[in-house]
């Protein structure tokens, strides 16, 4: 009785021009579809591209975001790179050019500080882009999208790795822009090779993977973006300043040099300098790559394992 009563109530409260018939036709079609069990891709990787592309699309379809993230490296490189002209200390000292160059090469691995810094700048942009991968987890949690993803059979690790790869994608594009601008502003290109440039992007990919995995895992349980921002500042600046990104390690105090040796970011920059400007590295290129690959694999693995435990309570 109660059922039919309400049926009538609902019908009378509806818009008269509600098209009841088309909906009924759809229902017949839909009923058939509901009967047939859908085929589902059960591989653990399904959904990875969908989730990655969701975040990337937000980035490249939003003109303000895209323009800002393209201008940022230009500003950094143009202002920071040109303002901090350490080689001018030496060139203004009156020492003969040949000696000047020898000194510059011994410290910077090249005669131009700007070329030295441009390589460091690649790590700089990767660090800052990766830092915000955690923020994106926080917002997905806050706005409920994370719960929606978690209620589907998509692998928990895939949710984490999608956050990592969207950030890596942005890092790769921004690194490309940094490199183009650096060359336009006077970076030395005499040591560029195809393998060197490809190797540089591989290094950016690996460093981005490692750092994004780190920041993503720090945000797995957080719904609080203020804390997340504090974490970014706490982790990012030490990783940058206690590295060889802006200044040669050789000229730093020995205790700091020890810190630099355990900072994986230094290895990535060391490798990039060898590949792009032909600098003599702190380590062989193989060691640099080995450290960064290990860094990326270990942090991604930890991120995936933590996601099984901590993504849902």
């Amino acid at each position: 009785m109660a059922k039919t009563d309400t049926d009538n109530k609902i019908k009378t409260s509806e818009n008269p021009e509600d098209q009841v018939e088309p909906v009924d036709q759809i229902l017949v079609e839909e009923e058939k579809r509901f009967r047939a069990a859908p085929k589902l891709d059960r591989s653990p990787l399904h959904g990875l591209w969908a989730l990655t592309n969701r975040d990337l699309r937000k980035w490249y379809t939003s003109p303000p975001q895209l323009i800002i993230s393209l201008i940022t490296p230009i500003v950094w490189l143009g202002l920071f790179g040109k303002a901090l002209n350490f080689s001018s200390f030496i060139s203004s000292s009156g020492i003969p050019i040949a000696q000047q160059n020898a000194i510059l090469i011994s410290y910077f691995g090249t005669t131009s500080y700007f070329s030295f810094l441009s390589c460091g700048m690649l790590a700089f942009i990767v660090l800052f882009t990766s830092a915000f991968s955690g923020m994106s987890v926080v917002f997905d949690r806050r706005f409920g999208f994370l719960d929606k993803a978690l209620s589907t059979p998509v692998a928990r690790g895939t949710i984490v790795m999608a956050k990592v790869f969207q950030s890596v994608g942005k890092s790769l594009i921004q690194s490309g822009i940094i490199l183009i601008i650096a060359v336009a502003l006077g970076m030395e290109t005499s040591h560029f090779t195809v393998q060197g440039v490809a190797g540089t992007f591989l290094m950016v990919f690996l460093l981005g993977t490692a750092l994004s995995a780190l920041f993503t895992m720090l945000a797995l349980r957080s719904a609080d973006w203020q804390t997340q921002q504090a974490i970014i500042n706490l982790v990012n600046l030490p990783l940058l300043f206690a590295s060889n990104a802006l200044f040669p390690a050789k000229l730093m105090p020995t205790w700091l040099q020890d810190v630099i040796k355990v900072n994986p970011v230094s290895y990535a920059i060391d490798g990039v300098r060898q590949m792009l400007i032909g600098a003599h590295g702190m380590n062989s290129l193989i060691v640099d790559f080995a450290v960064i690959i290990a860094f990326a694999v270990v942090l991604s693995a930890i991120g995936i394992v933590l996601s099984w435990r901590f993504l849902s309570k």
Partner: protein
Amino acid sequence: MSTNKDGTSTSNIITVENLSKTFGSLKAVDNVSFNIKEGEIFGFLGPNGAGKTTTIKLLTTLLKPTSGKAVVCGYSIFKDANEVRRNVGVVPQEYTADEDMTGINNILLCADLYGMARSDSKPHAKELLKLVELEDAANRKVSTYSGGMRRRLELACGLINYPKLLFLDEPTLGLDIQTRAAVWKYIKTLKEQYRMTLFLTTHYLEEADSLCDRIGIIDHGHLVKIGSPQELKQIVGGDLIVVSVRENEPDISSDVAKIELVREVKKQDRIYRIKVNNGEEASPQITDLMRSKGLHVISVSLKKPTLDDAYLELTGRNLREEEVDKLSMFRQRVTMRRARS
């Protein structure tokens, strides 16, 4: 009715045994047991913070239970969480769609997360959009949607994986009357056309009353009572007849109590409060009796029990807003704001 993976025949699509979830010292869900039959609309009724959403999150594997067992669509929420996820649909309380994406892309993203092929999900998504009357807005960004449109989009997203069982958490929270009626219509369609089982939570009594085949009343994490809306109303003790007579007339309570349909008589000054089994039949009998005893009946009123009365009787309090944790408060604010925009 249906056959599970392990070959046993059952009509229960959800079996919950002693399920508990504790957050710190708070027992959000406390030793709850119930079954849901295939094809029924089952509602959890209770105030905010009673444990409705927590129960849904446990059954949809978003939260891990502290103790207890639950089998959903034939799969354990512990051992086969992914199978549970493949077989159920969830329409959460919040609007979870991505604002920067179009309606159809939101549904397709859900489909991708279920691992559906685009050849299947594309036509299905279009049909679902037609079902919830959003086909004209399919290619608009969700940020331009009204609250009612967002709710309907959530419904479509929850249906994309052809679920046998659909969870709806407060499906009409913050909606205007027309959209609420539309959502009710879709819910009934799902039950009747697709023979889908629906599990919904609500703190609107009229919603529980008109939609649900059975209702579970939940309060402070305890499942207080389960029954059909009619059964729950019976708890209140049938209909209530209130008769007022003139002052200083003799008390004939004991005579009234002798009438077969009368269950309980209370007299207060010149007012008789009489609980009866069938108000329509009992009231003329009562007034006839009173007149025959020389009393002057001034007024008679008949009150049918409501779920509100049942709720009050069972929990000792009205449905009311309760404190909830900060995150859900934030989400609720966001939801309400979007619903109103």
